[in-house]
Each structure stands twice: as structure tokens, then as C-alpha cells.
Symmetry: C2
Subunit: 351 residues, 2 copies
């Protein structure tokens, strides 16, 4: 009854331009072509675990209407709007104080809105296992994905496998968080069995995280504490806006996790991807016999391999003779680019 879900949906997804744009970033798009947006898929994978009135979405003020449209079952008052981007720490602090004002016994899951999970039953098992620990304990639990390649695009969690939690043998103390490594370092990490990808999914009870902010980030906690009389009132938004303007921009990893005691990791293996690149979308999508990912209702290919075509449903697309490309079409923009050059897409979109 006290389980709450927080979905962070404020990202801009610039690496997926032009599919993802400032007006409608990746989490609001049916990236996989399955009929559900990434935000909706995120909601779906928690089905049955929380009441809809305990589901919270934190997003930019300009995406509030999109969230309400895509998740109509989430109460409008649970869609919290950020007036500006301040990274994950202020976002999590805001929603934590907001939830605490209403339910001081809340047990929370915090998740990004633009990742995918293949094995949802296993995901739910891991979340439940973590929530069970945090219901009664002051633990900060992160999910650690079992790595299957020396990925340099993720942060890593170094676990102390000799030190499982007394109450949950699947959950271990964290030795350290490691930033995105170079290839050699990543290769070394994955040869050991106690390094995990940091998926940015956190489980804690509201008292634990609020206290952690009070201890490690008083600059962040004080303003949100001072707003306690106003949460849920008509002046909440206006007052939150003022607080946000002055807030520093910092990730929860830097602000809390790297400082706090009682940090745990729940190793897990449920087919996770942050879909951070076109390449990862390619890897995680249904492919045809020629290793193409074709997302769109009317795409024909000839002599085409290892290519992603992503377009709006109304578009007829014929592609001949491409190998290893991204073809992405959205509204008034068309991108054709080698998959191997996708890290330049952000620059293309700025040009």
C-alpha cells in the first residue's frame, strides 16, 4: 500500500535526433514500434506493484500534457513539473519531499522513463525483493546489471560480494561507483564478477532518501523542506519554480550515492538497455533476416543490411543498397547516417 513509483521523464534524448526532438523526446515515442511509448512501457512493467495514485512522474513543464495524455491513469497532481533542468538530484529531492508530505511511510522505486527491459517478470521479482528490504531498513538500493560486454557508455558499480545484506542474500554492499571507463578498464571490470552496470534505478524508503539529502546536500534539502506547508496546494508550482531556479545541477549519483553509507546493489539480469544509442536500439529490437530494424508501417528494403529505418507510420519508405546505416524521418526532418558515425548526430542536429 505504501509502494510508490517515481518515473523521471525530463530528458531530451538528443542522440536520437530527429526521431527524438525537444518537442517530443525519446521517452514519449514508440521507439520500438510496438504501439507503446518508452514512458508507457516503463509504466507497464510496474503493473500490479503500485496503485495508480502512488505513481509519480517528474518532467519538464513543457512535457506535462504529453505525460498526462500518455498515462491518463496517473493523477494529474502526481505529474510534477520542473521549470528547468537540474539533473537527477533536485528532481529526486522534490518528488521525495512531495511524497513524504502525503505518505511518510512511502517505499519508493525511482526509474528513468526511456530504458527497456526484456524480462519483465524477473524485473518485477528484483524490484519486489529490493522493496522488501527497504520497507524496514535504511538502505539505498541500486540495481546492478550483469554486464555482457566491455561497455564504455555506462557507469559501473563495484560490489562487495563477501558482504550480502543480512536480510536479503541477493543484495550486497557497494564498494564504489565507477564513472564511464575507457575500453581497457571496462574489459578489466567485466573479467571480475563483482562489477555491474549502473542502471539508474533506485529503491529506498522516503525517510532514508530525505535523511540522506539532509546530511549530504543541505543546499538541496533545505529549500524542499521549507516548502512542506505548500505541497499539494495551489502555490506549490510557483514556489517550486523559485527553488529550482537557484538549485545547483547535480546527479543523485554524485550528490548522494558516492557519499552515503548503507548503499547496496541488487545484481540483476533482466535484459536491460538504456537505449542510449541507435546501436543499442538496433541490438534490442526485432530484426529481419538481413539484420535490419524496420520501424514504420510501410518500409520496403532491397539489398539492405544492418540498417535501422525509423519513420512515422504514414510514410512509405523504399531503401535500396544500404549497409550499416540509420535512416530516421520525423515530421520535417530526414537523417541518413552511418551507424558507426552516430555519435555525431547531436552535432548534426545543432548544425
Amino acid at each position: 500500500m505504501n509502494n510508490h513509483l517515481v518515473i523521471m521523464a525530463g530528458g531530451v534524448g538528443s542522440r536520437f535526433w530527429p526521431m527524438s526532438t525537444q518537442d517530443r523526446p525519446k521517452q514519449f515515442i514508440d521507439v520500438l514500434g510496438c504501439g507503446r511509448t518508452l514512458l508507457q512501457l516503463t509504466y507497464d512493467r510496474f503493473r500490479g506493484m503500485m496503485a495508480d495514485e502512488n505513481i509519480w512522474v517528474v518532467t519538464s513543464e513543457k512535457y506535462g500534457d504529453i505525460v498526462a495524455e500518455q498515462l491518463p491513469m496517473v493523477p494529474r497532481k502526481n505529474i510534477l513539473l520542473e521549470p528547468c533542468r537540474r539533473n537527477t538530484a533536485p528532481c529526486i529531492a522534490y518528488v521525495s519531499w512531495r511524497i513524504k508530505a502525503q505518505d511518510p511511510r512511502a517505499n519508493m522505486v525511482v526509474t528513468p522513463s526511456d530504458h527497456i527491459v526484456m524480462n519483465v517478470p524477473e524485473f518485477q521479482r528484483v524490484i519486489k525483493s529490493s522493496l522488501k528490504l527497504t520497507r524496514e531498513n535504511d538502505a539505498i538500493v541500486t540495481l546492478g546489471m550483469k554486464p555482457n560486454r566491455p561497455e564504455t557508455g555506462y557507469g559501473y558499480i563495484e560490489a562487495d560480494l563477501s558482504s550480502p545484506s543480512i536480510r536479503n542474500k541477493e543484495i550486497f554492499r557497494v564498494f564504489s561507483f565507477r564513472e564511464k571507463p575507457d575500453f581497457a578498464t571496462a574489459t578489466r571490470y567485466i573479467q571480475q564478477d563483482n562489477y555491474f552496470w549502473n542502471a539508474g534505478i533506485f529503491i529506498w524508503n522516503v525517510g532514508t532518501i530525505v535523511n540522506a539529502f539532509r546530511v549530504y546536500q543541505p543546499e538541496i534539502s533545505d529549500p524542499f523542506e521549507s516548502l512542506l506547508p505548500y505541497y499539494g496546494t495551489d502555490s506549490e508550482q510557483e514556489r517550486v519554480n523559485k527553488v529550482y531556479e537557484k538549485m545547483k545541477s547535480i546527479s543523485v549519483d554524485y550528490a548522494i550515492l558516492e557519499n552515503a553509507e548503507e548503499i547496496f546493489v541488487h545484481p540483476a539480469d533482466f535484459g536491460w538497455s538504456d537505449l542510449g544509442t541507435w546501436g543499442s536500439l538496433h541490438d534490442n529490437s526485432k530484426r529481419d533476416l538481413y539484420n535490419n530494424v524496420l520501424i514504420g508501417d510501410n518500409i520496403k528494403t532491397y539489398e539492405t543490411w544492418n540498417t535501422i529505418v525509423h519513420c512515422t507510420e504514414e510514410k512509405k519508405v523504399v531503401v535500396q543498397g544500404l549497409d550499416g546505416y540509420i535512416v530516421a524521418e520525423k515530421d520535417d526532418t530526414l537523417l541518413i547516417c552511418k551507424l558507426a558515425e552516430e555519435q555525431r548526430i547531436r552535432n548534426f542536429s545543432e548544425d
Copy 2:
């Protein structure tokens, strides 16, 4: 005063799909990105040679409004509508009888609407030179383009250079018309100096062509002759429609030119192309330093060579890493195809 221009604008341009579609074929499109459609460029290159009321366009009934919109100076009654496609012979017969009914002394130029000419002053000189001959003589004059490559996509005209017209030393008798040759034959043709590309541009006086139809194609001439009382009346269209339905489909080359006496060719060299292929569009358009043709207002390329991008003005396009491709976008369709495979585009559009 008796000069008339006939523009044949009934083609469907299927090789330029998706830029060219059944709803708006290539002649009605600004293919070159110069601000004028191919039909308008055709009109432009005859400027000053005929009065607007002597300009005739024969097209499909479904393109009548497009012609009227693109050539508002041409009287609407001069836009003749074909109810179905019957190749060039019935088209030319219809407009010839129609013109004869109004101006029995008409001297005519017949031209396709989807070709381009680079050197317009030279073009005008050649047309005037030909019209001068046909004004007083029963000659059928074709324009023969000086070939610069062993093109297998054109028909050839074999001229008798020893036999210039008595009245115009630039115009010669035709030995024979040759269908599109294979490569070896085309190579042999261009090594001789009396083979020319058949550009499908004809000059004759109306009496000559009407008589030729009477002699060689009574099946075609009889119906149009029988409509003489109705040209220019309210019942013209209805009666023409009935005639057309039963008409055989045949080109003027087969129906008349290969049979008639007094066939002449005016060799010419004014930078002509029938723009029959994307390759010819590439060859005849303004190219950037990397040999790309970029038609559209907002196209950025990176590491891209020998490529044509043709898109609507509103579209932003980013292309990276293509060499030798066609990228064409129109309304609800996108084509990406190797230039070398462009002969398959017609099939793609049918698939």
C-alpha cells in the same frame, strides 16, 4: 503570326518516383530546383516566337488544372484533354486537326514538356530555321541532337548528309530512324557523323501533318476529320473522348515518320537532355564540390559524394556517408537507392 506551339504534357514520369507521381508527374515539378517546372521551362524557351493564343498543351484530363495553373497565359481552351493515354500519334493528330480548324495556314512546333535545353538562343535559332523551311514546304522536320556518348536510351536518326534541303543547307533528308540500340551498335553510330539522337521535337505545317495522317493512318485521321464541325464547340470534349477510347495506341514515329517521304532532320547542338533518368538529372544540374546535386532549401551533407538529394522545400535533410545514391522525398514517400540501380525505381514504385 501563324506559328503555333504544341506542348505534349501527358506523360507520367514513373522513372522519377517518388519525386514524380501519377498525381503530379515530372513535367509539373521544379526538377532542377530553379523555381520553374519543366513545363514552364518548355514554355519559356519559346518566348517571343509564338503568341500565347497559339500555344497548345495536350495533356491528360486529370492534369488540365495543373497546366492552367502553371501556364496561366495559355488560353484555357488551348489546353486539350486526353481521356486516356494513346501515345503520341493520336495526341498530335487531335491537336493538328484542332489547330487546322482555326488556322489552316498554321506552322507548328511539337515538343515534349519534360526535356531541358541549356543553350536557349541556339535552340531558338534552330527552331526558327526549321519553321522557315516548313512555312513554304511540305517537309516534316525532326531535330537531331549531336550525340556525345553511345547512349542506349535514345532512338537515333540516320541522316543523308549528301542531301541537304535546297532551301536550307542546315537541314538534311533522313535515311532511316533507328530504335534504341545496344551498346555496340550505339558505339558504331556515334563514330559516324550522320547519326543523331531523336529528341522528339517536330516542325511541320499543319497541312503536311494532316495529309500524312490521311495517307498513312486513315484509322486515326478519319475520326478527327469527322469532328471538324465540333472543334471549339461545347461538345468537342465529349466527342473527342469517344474517338479516343477506340483509338489505337501508337507513337508518331511509327505511325508517320517511318513511313512518310519528305522527312528531314535539322542537326543541332544546344545542350539537350530528355531528363529520362536520375543520372541525366545529375549530369545536367548544378553540382557542389563533391559532385552532389542538392535540390531543396535545407540539405546538409557530410562525407557524401556523387549523390542526388531531391526533396520538398520544407524538409530538413542531413545526409552522412553516402556515395552514388539517390535520396528523393515527396509528400508521404521516401526513396533511398543507388544511382546505379535507378532502372529498378519503376519496380519499387509498383511494389
